[in-house]
């Protein structure tokens, strides 16, 4: 995971609740076995019509949101499927941060693992930030994970909370597996003390 500290850039707003990961990255793209190159498929069915032309009514096609780095959306963002391809696609499209009143559990966890920063704010704060976005000319914002602040174009600042452990991992680009393997002795001791009756290798297959 690459280290991330702060980002300053345009904001895109998709003001809809319960955006599921089937919309973020539709299933027809999940057959790829690569880890990169997912951005072009983001919100495919919402972004493009059947002929592959941009749908003008979809928020991300608003020129004021072009090249945005910060995505704002409604509550329960990322519900449904556990596909990590969803944060891969959001990152691949160019976003560093997603701001919403709440996130689905697995999606939030997947974001943390890949360094896409999920910022949860009370609904009224998200509403105020969304309302401040200029949907004709575009607006910029700064999200600072080190300072735990969001600064709007007008200089107003909102603070946010973030899991301290995960914040440290993202700020320093730490590898989760390396961190866990530091506790190799504890894992081995657990396995010794808790022998299992499960052995998939003993099954005929």
């Amino acid at each position: 995971m690459e280290a991330f500290t702060r980002t300053t850039g345009r904001v895109a707003v998709i003001d809809r609740p319960d955006i599921d990961t089937d919309q973020v990255i539709p299933k027809q793209f999940l057959k790829r076995i690569e880890r990169t190159g997912w951005g072009e498929f983001l919100f495919w069915d919402w972004r493009l019509d059947q002929d592959g032309n941009p749908r003008p009514d979809f928020e991300l096609n608003n020129p004021a949101f072009a090249d945005a780095k910060i995505l704002m959306a409604g509550r329960n963002f990322g519900c449904g499927s556990s596909r990590e391809h969803a944060p891969w696609a959001i990152q691949g499209y160019g976003f560093d941060v997603v701001i919403a009143p709440s996130f689905a559990d697995i999606f939030r966890s997947n974001c943390m693992k890949v360094g896409l920063v999920p910022v949860e704010l009370p609904g009224e704060h998200v509403r105020a930030l969304m309302d401040a976005v200029d949907t004709e000319n575009g607006s910029e914002m700064t999200v600072d994970l080190e300072a735990l602040t969001i600064t709007g174009a007008d200089g107003s600042t909102v603070e946010f909370e973030f899991d301290a452990f995960r914040r440290n991992c993202i700020l320093n680009g730490l590898d989760d597996i390396d961190l866990t393997l530091e506790h190799e002795a504890a894992i081995t001791e657990y396995e010794r003390a808790n022998p299992s009756r499960i052995d998939t290798l003993a099954l005929e297959h």
Partner: protein, 469 residues
């Protein structure tokens, strides 16, 4: 201190816990399939790491496989299946590949083999891993980075989730299924109602359910936003597991039973949240919208946005009705369908197929409706055939297919065309879930079968039919 079932399973699996850090918990069983594993295997390879416990891992092919018995013609799907077929032996993981005779939907074969069992932790790169909680296991879906983490360490870093008890109060009326219970519950608490929680399902209705019905309930915990769903193991659980291929035998079985009987919630144990769902007056459920919480009794009407005062809720409703091509206020029974799908990790087990077959026996699929049955695994398919269920379905005009995930998510060729409308026994009615532009209505197997015959939704309680199988 009084403990919940979840507390017991969680605490038994903590490898390490430090203030301010997520706990490191041990994973007893890791289920793998072709879609969410290739990048994880590649990650191991790039880092030069081994897969720590192949003996706690098992893989199958389910999401991409065609169900018409033909070869995989989609080159991307084939590459993904080939990657699994190469990766599993390279890392020592047993694989039930297509043609092995044991393959099927990952959440169907785990219990079927007896690998799913009380008190263990189970993960899989698939959100419907919650299914396995029906056995009193702590089972949840993870993303591909976590799949790689489990491969390398057999552990996960997890914050302890909160607990919720969902108590089904009352007596289930005749003709009402486990699917109706969980759809009704999601309608009540909403698609984010369980977020951050592990739900324990309790009540007379749950205790009376078979294991397959309990799996249907736990399967859809994720559709309420929950991390997992659990049901305390009891004699129904033990009877299901006895003599499964992977189940303990002899003295080990007796020892396991002694252990499993301890896995319950103490009187007075506290849950962070308590929800009561009254089932006395439950009616067969049909989703009308674009998430599983948008659900109504079959006897009701599609909601009217004009009746909703909350702006956000009204806009959601308007968007859903537009996508679904439904008129506000129309009777659910007047919704005409084009396709019927009986299958998925929610409802593709033998009891589901028997229930659907009972309803279609002696009837014909309505003109213009295309209906298919996709068993959850090869053993289920063979069992159904030995009972003659396949004949009942094909005589009625259903297609009888090979095992797989199929049209639940349409990663294989089984998809809805734009504008087509399905009655589906699966778990998600999101936009495009079964095919771009497709419109999905979630129902029980009985309701799907009845809709296939009528061509529109009907109240299955008004039909007379005898159980088969």
């Amino acid at each position: 201190m009084a403990k919940t079932l979840f507390d017991r399973v969680w605490e038994r699996h903590v490898v390490r816990e430090e203030p301010g850090e997520p706990a490191l918990i041990y994973i007893d069983l890791h289920l793998l399939h072709e879609v969410t594993s290739p990048q994880a295997y590649e990650g191991l390879r790039l880092a030069g790491r081994k897969l720590r416990r192949p003996d706690r891992s098992i893989a199958t092919m389910d999401h991409n496989v065609p169900t018409d018995g033909g070869p995989v013609t989609d080159p991307l799907a084939k590459a993904q299946l080939d990657a699994l077929a190469a990766n599993c032996p390279a890392f020592g993981v047993p694989l039930y590949a297509t043609g092995s005779g044991r393959e099927g939907i990952v959440h169907v074969i785990g219990p079927e083999l007896g690998l799913t069992r009380p008190g263990i932790t189970i993960v899989c790169g698939d959100s419907h891993t919650s299914t396995h909680g029906a056995f009193g296991a702590l089972a949840f879906g993870i993303g591909t980075s976590e799949v790689e983490h489990v491969m390398a360490t057999q552990c996960l870093q997890q914050r302890r989730p909160k607990t919720m008890r969902m108590h089904f109060e009352g007596t289930l009326p005749p003709g009402i299924t486990a699917k109706d219970c969980i759809l009704g519950a999601i309608g009540q608490i909403g698609v984010a109602g369980g977020a951050g929680h592990v739900i324990e399902y309790t009540g007379d209705a749950i205790e009376a359910f078979t294991m397959e019905q309990r799996m249907t309930v736990c399967n859809m915990s994720i559709e309420a936003g929950a991390r997992a769903g659990m049901i305390a193991p009891d004699n129904t659980t033990f009877a299901y597991l006895e003599n499964r291929p992977a189940s303990p035998q002899g003295a080990e079985w007796e020892a396991a039973l002694d252990e499993w009987r301890q896995l319950r919630t103490d009187d007075g144990a506290e849950f962070a949240n308590e929800v009561v769902v009254n089932v006395d007056d439950l009616v067969p459920q049909v989703t009308w919208g674009t998430n599983p919480g948008m659900v109504a009794p079959v006897t009701a009407n599609v909601p009217d946005p004009a009746d909703i005062t909350d702006d956000e809720e009204r806009q959601s409703l308007e968007r859903a009705l537009e996508y679904m091509g439904l008129e506000a206020g129309m009777a659910v029974r007047d919704i005409q369908i084009d396709r019927v799908f009986i299958g998925s990790c929610t409802n593709s087990r033998i009891e589901d197929l028997r229930a659907a077959a009972s309803v279609v026996k002696g009837h014909k699929v309505s003109d213009g409706v295309h209906a298919m049955v996709v068993p959850g695994s090869v053993p289920i398919k063979l069992q159904a055939e030995s009972e003659g269920l396949d004949k009942l379905f094909t005589d009625a005009g259903f297609e009888w297919r090979e095992a797989g995930c199929s049209m639940c998510l349409g990663m294989n060729p089984d998809i809805l065309q734009p504008g087509e409308r399905s009655a589906s026994t699966s778990n998600r009615n999101f936009e495009g879930r079964q095919g771009r532009g497709g419109r999905t209505h979630l129902v029980s197997p009985e309701m799907a079968a009845a809709a296939a015959v009528a061509g529109h939704f009907v109240d299955v309680r008004e039909l007379s039919y005898e159980p088969v199988g």
